[in-house]
Point group: C2
Chain length 462, copies 2
């Protein structure tokens, strides 16, 4: 029987080319203009799962974009691993900051990726990391080493809140029953520092609209005499943080879990260079909540960020106008125990309450999800840890991620099973940014590591 390593060596060119083809489809779920591309991507995923050896593959219709389901049940008495991933991607803009077109993948060497990295929107988040599991499945079936049952659930709305996924999971609990959920949609600390994500932040994403006068006004004739919606919006947003960068929304921190000194000391052991961090971002100083380190600020603490703002004249030159409306997209990252629906409500009530009488305010919730923490003594975590030890030669570090995969807590609630987050990307891969990329080395290392998870998970369950 051929082993995984040699199979990867033999087929790596094809593994890479198949991913490049997938990355050429602009499956942008946030923009309805790309509807057909998103649906076409689902079809491609279906084919790839069939080729990888699934016995049953279905395109499952939902109120939104379809979910691709695949399975191979070799023995009902054996454990079942449910693989989750998503085939949709973030919008690529600002387009002009990409060195190569976001949907024309190219492989280029970088300082961190001397073996080359694949540059394209979705290369890491999540087409690349999701496709590692498809190829791992191929290896296990083609080399007769699949040790347990496998189910795949690949969705197309992760970047816009996974609304249809919740709808689908609630209606298919039997079909999706499993012993562990495996996801690669996070990162690892460094190529020589493997890590397993044990915590995720929750999310509340809202859009706000501030309306002043019923039409755009001449800033000379009305300037100073009526509320300028943009000025008001900046005042309102600015007031959401105090001088210590604590969030000022009443009740916002009520349920935030406070880590013990020991836990914070444990976290602080993860290798981190503030100088390298600042250098990689070209910033002179970091900025954040008083009393917490950079790694704490983006993992165990909740945050509030404006993701977009617009209003008035934004074209070339000058226009002396007072806009009728101003808008902003605001997201809050939440920590375990904060309920995203409750936080969204707190935000809405607070934001409306601070609006002066001279404007009207509309707050529209976009989507959100709960935070999540997983124990490191579970069979799933142990299996993942042993897999990394085999391929990286060292024990992975458990780490809290600042990102959100809202559906992880949904899975726990609906499917009663824990999720293992085996991420192979790096923070520097620029996901959600121009020039997103995924190291070829990371891609192949992931494909090599995943089958070992199945092996150990099945053994440890015996």
């Amino acid at each position: 029987m051929q082993n995984t390593k040699s199979y990867v060596q033999e087929h790596k060119e094809r593994f890479i080319n198949e991913l490049l083809e997938l990355l050429k489809i602009p499956s942008i779920s946030a923009d309805s203009a790309y509807k057909n591309d998103v649906i076409r991507t689902a079809d491609e995923i279906k084919k790839s799962l069939e080729n990888a050896g699934c016995d049953l593959v279905e395109i499952c219709e939902t109120p939104g974009y379809p979910i691709v389901y695949g399975e191979k049940i070799i023995n009902p008495d054996l454990p079942t691993v449910l693989v989750y991933g998503h085939y949709d991607v973030q919008p690529p803009d600002p387009i002009d900051l990409w060195d190569s077109p976001p949907f024309e993948p190219v492989i280029k060497k970088t300082e961190l990726h001397p073996e080359g990295a694949i540059f394209a929107r979705g290369s890491c988040d999540d087409k690349g990391q999701m496709y590692m599991h498809v190829k791992a499945m191929e290896i296990m079936t083609k080399t007769d080493q699949l040790p347990c049952n496998v189910k795949f659930m690949i969705e197309g709305e992760e970047e816009v809140g996974s609304n249809s996924l919740g709808w689908f999971v609630e209606r298919n609990q039997e079909k999706l029953s499993n012993d562990v959920i495996l996801i690669s949609d996070t990162g690892m600390i460094a190529k020589d520092v493997p890590s397993i994500t044990t915590g995720l932040r929750g999310l509340s994403y809202v859009e706000v609209e501030v309306t002043g006068p019923n039409r755009d006004l001449h800033s000379g004739l009305y300037g100073g005499a009526v509320a300028n919606p943009i000025n008001i919006l900046t005042k309102m947003i600015a007031s959401l943080h105090d001088e210590d960068n604590h969030i000022t929304i009443p009740g916002f921190y009520d349920k935030v879990e406070n880590l013990s000194t020991e836990e914070r000391a444990e976290m602080a052991k993860a290798p981190f260079s503030l100088d390298a961090y600042k250098k990689s971002l070209d910033i002179n100083a970091v900025y954040g909540e008083e009393g917490y380190t950079t790694n704490e600020r983006n993992s165990i603490r909740p945050t509030l960020d404006v993701n977009g703002i617009w209003g008035g004249y934004t074209g070339e030159g000058a226009k002396t106008v007072i806009a009728s409306k101003a808008y902003a997209k605001i997201s809050m990252r939440l920590v375990p125990n904060q309920d995203w629906k409750e936080i969204t409500e707190l935000f809405k009530n607070h934001f409306e309450s601070i609006a002066p009488e001279s404007v009207t305010v509309k707050v529209t919730p976009h989507h959100g999800g709960q935070g999540y923490v997983t124990p490191i003594d579970s069979v799933g975590y142990q299996a993942a840890s042993k897999a990394y030890q085999d391929t990286f030669g060292k024990t992975p570090i458990p780490q809290r991620s600042g990102g959100s995969i809202p559906i992880v807590s949904l899975f726990e609630k609906e499917l009663k099973s824990k999720t293992i987050l085996m991420g192979f990307g790096l923070d520097s891969d620029a996901i959600h940014s121009p020039n997103e990329h995924f190291g070829v080395w990371n891609y192949l290392k992931g494909i090599e590591t995943i089958p070992l998870f199945y092996k150990y998970f099945t053994e440890l369950n015996k």
Copy 2:
């Protein structure tokens, strides 16, 4: 000899149609995409001045858009009136708020304009008001009642700072020599309340750019740990006003002229209904500097307004990103004695000084100009006042406008002459806004009133 009134009656259809043709050309000086249209408009103005009876008409090249110069010198011993106007217009956006296309003029009746109003960008500001002077010229020449010499100077960069006009005026002081400058680029209080603008605010218009990290970042992985340029920009802009809505830029108010209680009482006599004002804008409350009335806030007090703001993801749906850059266009309306270059410098220094170490800030001045006040005892003002008395049957009220025509103070400096601002538009004409319009009644009334100014100005100079 036919009188003005009957000539207007006889030719009003043509007067209106000629203006409609002029309004069809999108002469947007702020957007270089319309360069050819702006230049084409200058050619049309040239033809119209020739048809109106000017002996000499020239397209004068400048570093920017050309200036159309025309003249009719009937006798060097008689006084000379210099007419100024502009043929460029503001950008029409937001386009989708127009009820009819901005450059496809239509005449519709409104509550304030039962005789109909011309809806199009530039209908009032300033093509319509400028063209009143061209038609008044036609009347005076065709009916042999031109009492003095006339010069026209129509520019194409008023909406973007009149840079080339300054260049032109400095180089043509002899050619432009005159006894009074006549401009219709302001408004009047109401159709039954004629007024003459005796004060204008100055202007300083700047663009600011705040840069944080060197690329857009994932708001989950970096949120809370790095400065978000949009959040920082809102904080910086919000800090430019205190809780009483005074502007916080050090030195900003140092040279502001404080009106006496008498002067303020005089101003307060102008008819004004706060309820009607709020109703016309659909606002529940006005908003502005503590201690001043609405009419004071938009005339004798300086202001600071954001005219445009943008950054991050502004498309459909949600994108969890921290933008690398955020931008805003900010304008300050200034009052007499405030020097716009000095204020621009004060803004720049202050804005840069309040930026946290974690971002870099760039302030780019767009343009600006001085404020202006004219005495009401001048021959020019008296002539204008008598002209209004003849056509409106009542004495016009002197009023300070919140708007800016920066070049008025330039004229005084370079040409040593005072400017008379005879405006026939209404605040409700929505200049600089969607659905800009100009009443047909106002247009014709202006054409009828202007020749009388020439008559009285010449008589009073005897």
